[in-house]
């Protein structure tokens, strides 16, 4: 199953009426629906985290779940990220399927040992005998005026670690389908939600669906330029693509959806087709996700590229509080457009 129209998902708010069998919901609702449907299907699924029950987590993404599933399955924890992530690992190793909520992606710093040295390695170290079907749901993204310790996008770290899978949904449709896949996966999965996107609306089908990992989605087709964008940056890329269209530049926007596994093939094919590539991601640029994707494309499409692959990540600075500074740290449609114009010889 796929979206009725790839680009309509991204620009759903403009669609006057949802097509037959599709509904418009927010990304936050998509997450909640995925959790609720999966929890109905499989009693082994538990949620754990800070303020996940009555409070429904600070972004209200989990509202209603404790009412439906009870406090035995939606569990408020102390402020102990390492501890309850470890508990998630132990649950997962012994027949349960926990979904752990790390309120802000920045707090992953506290749970790194449990995620990286334990969850990621148990299956391998045990020679394939033990499994860790654990989902860690968390956030990324800046511009919420939350300053340096509540604004980071640390997904590159996890993409670097074998044994982990990393998911970066950019639409309600993707969020719902990918979260279901994450929950059914037998491996530890890091699921990053952009906190600025919870209100983003988009279409999802009525019935059940899942989206496989490792399959990039072409959010918009184009022929002059490929923009590879992740999570929050997909909307930025689409906005840039719309502007570029005015300038007669046809941009293809590709969302890898999972950085691990990474659908190298689709990225390379697109690069071969357009010969020009920009990679946009909200993590710090240096040693971030844009580096891997750029390296993969530079190698895989080497003989087809007309210009170097350009990268646009967050500025390499701690995220400042002041709005006038913070807004300078995150890639914008304007910055993508500028880069695209230069790349296409229009600057």
């Amino acid at each position: 199953m796929s979206m009725p129209s790839a680009s309509s998902a991204a620009s759903a708010p403009q669609v006057p009426q949802a097509p037959e069998g599709w509904r418009e919901i927010t990304l936050g609702q998509a997450i909640r629906e995925a959790l609720a449907e999966e929890m109905r299907r499989d009693p082994r699924i538990l949620l754990l985290g800070e303020d996940v029950a009555e409070a429904g987590n600070p972004f209200k993404v989990l509202s209603g779940l404790v009412e439906e599933f009870g406090p035995e399955r939606v569990i408020d924890t102390p402020i102990s990220e390492a501890g309850f992530t470890g508990i998630g690992v132990g649950l997962a190793m012994t027949g349960m399927r926990p979904v752990v909520d790390i309120m802000f992606g920045d707090f992953l710093t506290l749970a790194m040992d449990q995620i990286v040295n334990q969850a990621a390695k148990v299956h391998y170290m045990s020679g394939g005998k033990l499994k860790v079907p654990l989902v860690v749901r968390t956030t990324l993204g800046a511009t919420r005026r939350s300053a340096a310790q509540h604004s980071q996008s640390l997904h590159a770290w996890f993409s670097h670690i074998p044994g982990l899978k990393v998911v970066l949904p950019s639409t309600p449709y993707d969020a719902k389908g990918l979260l279901k896949t994450a929950i059914r996966d037998d491996n530890p999965v890091l699921f990053f939600e952009d906190k600025m996107m919870y209100q983003l609306k988009g279409l999802v089908p009525e019935g059940e669906y899942t989206i496989p990992f490792g399959v990039a989605d072409i959010k918009r087709e184009g022929s002059d330029l490929t923009i590879v964008a992740t999570s929050s940056m997909v909307q930025v890329a689409l906005a840039a693509a719309t502007e570029l269209e005015q300038l007669g530049i046809s941009a293809e926007v590709i969302d890898p959806r999972t950085t691990s596994p990474l659908d190298k093939q689709t990225l390379i094919e697109s690069a071969k087709k357009t010969s020009r590539v920009i990679v946009v991601d909200e993590g710090y640029q240096s040693y971030g996700v844009t580096a891997e994707i750029a390296a993969v494309i530079s190698e895989g499409a080497f003989y087809y590229l007309d210009a170097p692959v350009k990268r646009l990540g967050a500025l390499d600075v701690p995220v400042p509080f002041s709005p006038v500074l913070e807004d300078l740290t995150v890639p914008t449609p304007a910055a993508v457009v500028e880069m695209a114009k230069t790349l296409c010889g229009r600057a």
């Binding site: 409070a55 102390p78 310790q149 390499d316 509080f321 002041s322 006038v324």
Partner: protein
């Protein structure tokens, strides 16, 4: 500030000569003024949020003023504190100025952190504030390290580590307390127990006996009514002197309550705490009212004193807000400054 002040908690007026009475009056009124400054500062913060003039959120300290003020009154200016997401009170009590704090909250260039830190990261080296921390429990190690530094440098400084009851969930705190006890460091862990971790009552997050925890690590532990600034001050003086004498770390639990929501946007609170509970604390346990009543009962202060203080504080707050609203934003090029020293 570490003079001896009478702290008899009964209503009975103290028998003092005039000079002592004047000193008493001056001291307690100065604490009253600091608490009022925090209270009115926070009112303005809420106002700035409601009128969409402040970016982001803020965690108000209203209701807990006696803790910061009582503890910091026992400190020297060169003593250190570390603070939390709910840090405005600590900042002010340790000596930060209202105008530069407002400027920071608005992301303006004259702010304490040039607008880069915001509400959750105000630091002010000059007044010994090593910074608020938006990671719950995140400064336990920093405070302990600062205490080791004081000890190694033989500076006679002490360190106060403020944190909320929620930080008891963080393992780092126990790691740090263990080392503070082993090495007999001059650090005082001040737990502001306001009964909630965000939206979850701490009885659901905190097993066993809170005070037994620091004790188990060999740390001298006390508990105090965090709404009674005289009690907080007395305990802080004791523990600070102990630490300064080289007798090692202490843990002070201050039982308190936040009058507002977890942050300025937390308006619907009934699912986690009742309006009655809130009303009771505000009516019966307001640290300003408690100190005010005592001062009146003692005949140490009367209406005119309080009115004068309120006028002064309001004027300062107003001037501070105006300063901040009119202050410039940082220059765009500052975004890449201060990444490295």
């Amino acid at each position: 500030m570490v003079s001896e002040h009478l702290t008899s908690s009964e209503g009975r007026p103290l028998a003092l000569d005039e000079a002592s009475r004047a000193r008493e009056r001056q001291f307690w009124l100065s604490l009253y003024e600091q608490m009022l400054t925090i209270r009115l500062f926070e009112e303005q913060v809420n106002e700035l949020y409601m009128s969409a003039k402040m970016p982001g959120l803020a965690h108000l300290y209203s209701g807990e003023e006696a803790v910061a003020v009582g503890v910091c009154a026992a400190l020297r200016r060169d003593d250190y504190i570390t603070s939390t997401h709910r840090g405005h009170g600590h900042c002010l009590a340790k000596g930060a100025a209202v105008d530069r704090m407002f400027a920071e909250l608005l992301g303006k260039q004259p702010g304490y952190c040039r607008g880069k830190g915001g509400s959750m990261h105000i630091a002010d080296q000059e007044s010994g504030n090593l910074g608020a921390n938006a990671i719950v429990g995140g400064s336990a190690g920093i405070a302990t390290g600062a205490a080791l530094s004081c000890k190694r440098r033989g500076s006679g400084q002490v360190v106060v580590c403020f944190f909320g009851d929620g930080a008891l969930g963080q393992g780092l705190l126990y790691e740090a307390m263990n080392m503070a006890a082993l090495w007999q460091l001059p650090v005082i862990y001040v737990c502001e127990n306001n009964l909630y971790n965000e939206y979850t009552p701490n009885r659901e997050t905190t097993a066993g006996d809170m005070l037994a925890r620091p004790r188990a690590f060999g740390i001298h532990t006390e508990e105090v009514d965090g709404q009674d600034v005289r009690a907080v001050y007395a305990a802080a003086v004791r523990l600070v002197e102990r630490a300064r004498r080289g007798e090692g770390p202490a843990y002070l639990q201050c039982n308190t309550y936040r009058f507002y929501g977890h942050h300025v946007g937390d308006i619907q609170r009934s699912y986690y705490r009742s309006r009655e509970e809130e009303e009771w604390w505000k009516a019966q346990r307001d640290p300003l009212k408690l100190l005010g009543s005592w001062l009146r009962e003692q005949g140490l202060a009367e209406d005119s004193h309080f009115a004068e203080i309120e006028r002064r504080v309001r004027a300062m707050i107003e001037a501070g807000v105006r300063f901040a609203l009119e202050a410039p934003y940082p220059d765009p090029q500052e975004v890449a400054q201060h990444v490295y020293a």
